[in-house]
Amino acid sequence: MIPQKPHPNWKAGQNAGMTRRSFLRGSAVFASGLAALAASLSPLRELDDFPSVEQFAQKYYKELTPAEMAKVLKRIEDEVERQYGLRPHVKDLKPADGVEFVYALNLTRCVGCRKCVHACVAENNQSRTPEIQYIRVLRLPHGSLDLEKAEHDYHPESVPEKGYFYMPVQCQQCKNPPCVKVCPVHATWQETDGITVIDYDWCIGCRYCEAACPYWARRFNFAKPSVPKDRLNLNMAYLGNRPRPRGVMEKCHFCLQRTRAGRYPACVEVCPVGARKFGNILDPNSEVAYILRTKRVFIQLKEELGTSPRFFYYFDV
């Protein structure tokens, strides 16, 4: 090599600094590192349930004006139409004055056919895979209410089976609900007609309420709920049976799209033996008022926990 004059900036004893070779090596590592990072983040490309801007910027339910609520309902109708190809009718039904719902279930009559379970699934657009069912029917042996002996997996040829009775369990709409107490964002609250509701757009999916509920009434959407298009119930309510996104809680809400319009819930209507009774306890002429007046033995599940459920199980002759 011909000895050359050193660069004016070069100081004696220093290294050569960045050369083209070292720059190229460094950038090769950097670029491949960036590529590996991008590739590892690639599952994010498949996120399809990202909330829209309107949904993200939506105000708390109780602060929405009627005009804003109308926009929210329209947004939901558009989303359902985009996903299922059918346009639903989403309403925001408010609780009526002088109405408090109470449920009475006759354990002598229930035969354990599970029609209520599947009628509820059909009415409330619940996910079929993975399966979500708000109602769980327990089979208990005669003689005690020991829930340790309960079986929910019974599948005999015919029901009722000798020696057993059946107890369907769903959200008890407690007067003193533990799920409402633990929700960190107030996405769930109890309304004046007794129904504990969930705002699916506000729920963050932490599942504290699921842990707090003693009846395992609350279900979580671990995956995007799948409802077949031909089974979609298009009569929807904002706090009720509109399709839920992934990652939110849901539970029985006494079919509020039906009950706040004056109809019976789906489980009451479908029960073939008339074991389920529903109505307004503040109306002395209602069926549930008659039952609570005349029947003698009532069971509230796990009443020692102080949740004070609105669900009364009773036996009959």
């Binding site: 290294n15 090596r25 460094g26 090769a28 590592v29 491949s32 590192g33 590529a35 590996a36 991008a38 590739a39 590892s40 690639s42 599952p43 006759n106 035969v111 056919c113 599970r114 029609k115 379970v117 599947h118 009628a119 699934v121 059909a122 079929r128 895979t129 993975p130 399966e131 069912q133 929910h152 997996d153 599948h155 005999p156 040829e157 015919s158 029901v159 799948s226 409802v227 077949p228 298009k229 089974r231 009950t259 004056g262 109809r263 019976y264 009451v268 209507e269 479908v270 029960c271 073939p272 033996v273 008339g274 009774k277 529903f278 307004n280 209602s286 039952i291 005349t294 029947k295 009959d316």
Partner: protein, 269 residues
């Protein structure tokens, strides 16, 4: 060059590692969870709020063909039919009425047609104290013996209610006794239950499918393959639902019967 001889080697290995990672993350099959196996759907016919039987009163309301119910098409007016009893004092059902099974009351207590039917006028019913009751008013006849149940039915505790709980919003549909109870064999017949819940985790589902065995003494009606699940219809037919791979149109269970004629009829529908 001698002070940092390993740097180019390290950089080279790092580059190779990053390229391998890029390639393996891009081919994501090994990272994806197993797709969920579709759970069989339940036939919507099974969750309709129809009554367990169609009573005469319902047939009248539907304006159906009532020629079967014209008593005096066969019987003579003013000539009460005679009942025949066999040696052990059991009622012998005439061959024209063999579709009737008399099972009202234990130990054959209610062993006489004219405990409820009026032999002088076959289009009416009668109570034990001699009152005549029209067919549309049959709950009064039932209540003349089953008083507490009748009171409960009037109050709303017994029987089915549908429609609207709010009277101002719409009609409350109450069923009468014979809409559910066959007056000749009133005991509610047993039925096949709908499928039990599926566990959330696929591993538990697999175990549940393989352990799907009937309790002792009950006939095993189907040998359950891993991917099927018996969908039991309430008319006692057993079908196995197999699933086609879900497409954008939703899940479509393909029902194939296991030889029961009822299931074959259901599959044809």
């Amino acid at each position: 060059m001698n002070d940092k001889p390993r740097v180019p080697g390290v950089l080279f290995i790092l580059t190779l590692v990053f390229i391998v990672l890029t390639v393996s993350f891009s081919r994501r099959k090994w990272m994806e969870p197993e797709p969920l196996k579709a759970i069989a759907l339940v036939d919507p016919d099974l969750v309709q709020p129809t009554t367990m039987r169609t009573s005469y009163v319902q047939l009248v309301r539907m304006q159906a063909d009532l020629s079967d119910f014209d008593c005096y098409a066969c019987h003579e007016k003013n000539k009460p039919p005679t009942l025949r009893f066999d040696a052990s004092n059991n009622l012998v059902i005439p061959k024209e009425h063999l579709d009737i099974v008399m099972a009202h009351g234990q130990h054959n207590r209610n062993n006489n047609c004219f405990n409820c039917h009026d032999e002088q006028n076959l289009v009416l019913l009668q109570t034990r104290d001699g009152r005549q009751v029209k067919f549309e008013d049959s709950p009064r006849l039932c209540g003349s013996c089953h008083g507490p149940t009748y009171r409960d039915w009037e109050g709303g505790a017994h029987g089915r209610t549908g429609g609207y709980w709010k009277k101002e919003a719409g009609e409350t549909k109450r069923q009468i006794c014979v809409d559910c109870h066959n007056p000749h064999s009133p005991k509610i017949p047993p039925r096949t239950p709908l499928p039990p819940p599926h566990p959330l985790r696929q591993a538990d589902q697999a175990r549940m499918f393989q352990e799907f065995r009937q309790p002792e003494g009950v006939a095993q009606t189907s040998s359950l393959p891993y991917r099927g699940f018996p969908i039991r219809r309430c008319d006692q037919a057993v079908t196995t639902g197999r699933l086609e791979v879900g497409d954008a149109a939703g899940w479509k269970p393909a029902l194939r019967s296991l030889g029961s004629p009822l299931a074959a009829a259901a599959a044809e529908r």
